[in-house]
Point group: C2
Chain length 219, copies 2
Amino acid sequence: MNQYIPILQETQLFEGCGKEDIEAMLGCLQARLRTYKKGSFVLRQGERLDKIMVLAEGKLHIQRDDHWGNRSIINIITPAEMFGEAFAAPDSGALLNDVLAVEDSVVFLFDLNRIITVCSSACRFHSMVVQNLFFAISEKNRKLVQKLGYMSERTTRGKLIAYLSDEAKRKNSSAFSIPFNRQQLADYLSVDRSAMSSELCRMRDEGLLRFDRNRFELL
Amino acid sequence: MNQYIPILQETQLFEGCGKEDIEAMLGCLQARLRTYKKGSFVLRQGERLDKIMVLAEGKLHIQRDDHWGNRSIINIITPAEMFGEAFAAPDSGALLNDVLAVEDSVVFLFDLNRIITVCSSACRFHSMVVQNLFFAISEKNRKLVQKLGYMSERTTRGKLIAYLSDEAKRKNSSAFSIPFNRQQLADYLSVDRSAMSSELCRMRDEGLLRFDRNRFELL
DNA sequence: ATAAGTCGGTTGTTTTTACAACAGAAACGG
DNA sequence: CCGTTTCTGTTGTAAAAACAACCGACTTAT
């Protein structure tokens, strides 16, 4: 287990903790390690979960099958990423997606109750882990709310305006760069790239904004 | 402040706590009470926050203005609802939305650090509040992820299939009721009601599903 | 230097959606 | 029971988006 401590140091959950502290906490948090062969399921739709999971090695797909069997990939998990944290709470209900190992993989399991029930002062960093967990899920929450705000606009233009307005607010300037190229932005907003590209140019022609590559200016 | 303890009992944050326990914790959590006149802002876009807020009385609108001044209402807060929790973490950045009191309102403010830094065993229920906070934000997270899953489908049919498939999974049956009427479902999925209605009927005619009012069966 | 690949913009066609307007069925209140 | 309101489905039209295909500018590797 100790061989993966450097990986754990890179996770949000153990941010700010030293190697020795993590090593000490592993026992206190009742960490478990599981290995999965390529092609096997880490979690199945319908299961219940009370663990927070961290990928130590390998690669996972979070994927969903609809009622008629059509599959789509929701997310790709790479080492040091945490998953399952939103479903570990007691009344979370059953999982709605599968988690599949697409490479031979190794996963850490942390018991949620062990984490949020702070133990005696034996491990100094335990309360930091609680905070890290809260911050991580809170950050995820913010990102989800923002994206949902953009996606709930009906038109491509509406989505672009919502997204670009937020970026301008975040950067506190009407001129700013975005971390996406066109295809990535289109994927993020769930629209067609070429349609989005046309819409951007139409907005430019109407004098709403200027842009060059990934640099934008709202007018 | 004590007059609002019954309201706090109804909140997710203090679920499972008795009146006396809440009263005891108010001091330990450094709770503050603020009043806002109708029409005044509780929070402004661009501000930073380190408090978790609970509406004790009145009504709030969470609203956004885009770069060109178009306003839209994101959410309506009613008494006993918590808000701001996702932005209270240290590196959350500035708020992107305004929170406006649309009635004379009273708001509880709880210092986040006071909550997640568990104090001495003086208040027995403090750790329960930490857990409640985690469960609340984790539940919100699940709901957001699910909705985002539906909304990221490009077509109305795709959104319906994603939503209805999840409901069937949750109810563990291909026949189930949904908690929405047509207009509410359309609003939830961010599509036009009549277009959605037509699409549902088309899917029915293709033999994908059956429905009657808010009762559905996937085939 | 050239060939291959990436990126962003453009165009035309087809599909899908929004919108508006209406009609029948069900629910409700007096 | 009747009139009113709410809910749902239907239709036609206009608007918007998806899709596919292509182009030129630029980058990168050999």
